[in-house]
Amino acid sequence: MLPELSRDEILRYSRHLLIPEVGLEGQRKLKNSSVLIIGTGGLGSPVALYLAAAGIGRIGLVDYDTVDSSNLQRQVIHGTSTVGKLKVESARDKLLDLNPGIQVDVYNEPYTSENALRIAKEYDIILDGTDNFPTRYLTNDVAVFLGKPNVYASIYRFDGQVSVFYAKEGPCYRCLFPEPPPPGLVPSCAEGGVLGVLPGTIGTLQATEALKILLGIGEPLIGKLLLYNALDMSFDFVKLKKHPNCRVCGPNADIKELIDYEAFCGVPSHDHEEGSAGATWDITATELAERVMTNHLKLLDVREPHELEISRLPEAANIPLGQLAGRLSELDSAEEMVVFCKGGTRSARALELLVSAGFKKVKNLKGGINAWAKEVDNNLPVY
């Protein structure tokens, strides 16, 4: 039995009720539906806002982060007044303001192999709004094991991908991408960034797919991948097929339960710690400031050239991480050197490369130039 709509709800959803494909029955279906949104960031923001506005009866939000001002360029569910608050609480308050008639469940915890099945089994559809490979593979496998549709989206700079991975009726994410790229290969970690409006475009497409599935109308993107490029304003579609050797949804699947996704992807999914190369190799910004007063030290900045326009240490040489292997001859392996980047992760990778090439007197600036800006030079911006 579908729930009835109240007098207020009939008014609220009247523009839906006027569409024959939705109508009163469709709106009651939405009221009876539940969705789980993994991540309340760039994609999760428009997804949650539009699905709440559409009258989905129950929305689950999973995130463990707090709102930071650098989120607000794209994560429009949060606001300046919620900076510092838990993202799930900031998002819940916004959703209930938009639509007090729905239920919003919040899970202020990382989505992991330990809790994912328990959380996701409560919901009809899972929406993947994650920003990292381990959680993406976990989200896929959970959907396959629970037999639920996984409305997938992914963004990068100006590019977006959307599909519906539903192993009962078509391929899953692993059919297309059996393995993640090795860390640092594709895409290079030095090339982050995203056009703020991009998750808006892609997230609303994701929300559209979820509504279509819940209403049982139209042609969901099962077995199709949408590729969007904002610069070309191009929408391309390709066909996806179930991979006969898929390790989770194929006939000979050998992955029958959730695995260690961080080990599988070779990267952590939850990066709360500042970039560090380990205690032996790290130097803090404060220590470095003391050292440069008394010693000659070579400083090597491995960030991209456009990042130097934001903040720089004038005495530092710049070799972007991607070019370092080919430009080692420019450096003196006998010289004492401190490597840094924005937050310490890329420089930790640079340090590994330098050490394996025979450099012995190298250190990693823990927390990068951002730590320097916080601890030593407040005139430099943090980004």
Binding site: P178, G192, V238, G343, T345, G368
Partner: protein, 94 residues
């Protein structure tokens, strides 16, 4: 001449080119031509054994070459080949 569409994450290795004209009558030849023109791309597409990396997907028109004849999939002159990467963006880059 077939055209190979380069996704944003790999454009750093093609001097920013979004499309590269390639020669060849099948995918294998086209990729050989592509990596001759842009050698820095090679490690991103092939492993040490010169096999296409499992996360690299190539589509001829709408179809994945894995569903056709793999790297032996023939290509016509005006064909559009798309390289589709796995992406996961938006996270804080440090």
């Amino acid at each position: 001449m077939p055209v190979l569409r380069i996704p944003t994450p790999l454009r750093a290795y093609t001097n920013g080119q979004s499309e590269v004209n390639v020669t060849g009558s099948n995918i294998s030849d086209a990729l050989a031509d592509l990596t001759t023109q842009y050698p820095a791309l090679k490690p991103h597409l092939f492993n040490e054994g010169d096999e296409l990396r499992p996360f690299v997907n190539l589509f001829v028109g709408e179809n994945n070459i894995k569903d056709l004849q793999g790297v032996n999939t023939p290509i016509r002159d005006s064909e559009k080949i798309m390289l589709i990467p796995s992406i996961a963006g938006g996270a804080n880059v440090t």
